[in-house]
Amino acid sequence: MTVDPRGRERRQRTPQGAKGLPQPKAPTRQPDAEERLLVERVKAKDQRAFETLYRRYCSRVYRHAMALVGIAAEAEEVVQEVFLTLYEKAKTFRGEAAFSTWLYRLTVNAALTRLRRRKRSREVSYEDYLPKYEPDGHHLGPEGSVVDWSQDVDKLLASKELHRILRQALDQLRPVDKAVVMLSDLEGVPNREIGKALGLSVPAVKIRLHRARLFLRGKLAVSFGHSPY
């Protein structure tokens, strides 16, 4: 038994698992030098080098595009645009960042253009789903108000319904925030690379990522019949 900050005796809840979560597998990379050589050849309009890069990366670009835009026809347009841009603007790749970072940037920019064209009514206010606190700093509501529904999710982790709810919630994020979440949590891209891809500082990436995760958490809580707070 322990005594909580409100002076009441409480049985301990156990934090789930270790401090962190297992990280998603980082994107596998071809040796950087080989990629740079291929890009140099594309700069010289070498078709074979261009097709090699297309074969290697088209699926990854498509998956990223689908994660962002959610519609196959639009994701196809993104793939076309990314590789055309790669071909036409290869000269702008100076090799300061990794090739994969540059590719993320092209993909995210092309996807964001399409997302921004969509009606803004899809986005909802984050505030309704972010945590709330009492004036004294405790979580809102009496002790025990924050329900640990994490075990309920385990039973449903592979279910289509859970994924449908999550995808719907992701669609309600602001486009840049959605891109940050997908790159970080789905693809395991480090914050520094996300920042380079999106033109954000690392602190800005972290703030957006955290608020987006809190929003998604709130949405999942509601889907389980609990308060979002």
């Binding site: 934090p15 962190g20 924050v146």
Partner: protein
């Protein structure tokens, strides 16, 4: 790493600060004193434990999403499109 304000206040109502520190806590970016204060507060506050568990589960659920590889027909279609566009560009030079 800079000291955070929860050091020495683990038994206080610092739930908002704990939530704000979640991301850095999970990526190991907090200094040892702040980590100790964070973990001490978790020992005392079941609401924050529940919040941490559900935050982690949200991330895990996002990671469980799967997106298909490019369909074979689409891959060919895009390749044809790119070939036409780039060869036109090449011949036009």
């Amino acid at each position: 790493m800079a000291k955070r304000s929860i050091v020495g206040r683990a038994d206080s109502a610092i739930c908002r600060e704990i939530a704000d520190l979640l991301l850095d806590y999970m990526t190991g970016e907090l200094d040892p004193e702040t980590v100790a204060a964070f973990q001490e507060h978790l020992r005392l506050c079941p609401d924050c434990v529940a919040f941490l568990n559900t935050y982690k589960k949200t991330i895990q659920t996002t990671r469980s999403l799967r997106f298909e590889d490019i369909p074979a027909e689409m891959e060919k279609r895009v390749r044809r499109f790119l070939r036409e566009r780039t060869q036109k560009d090449h011949l036009g030079r």
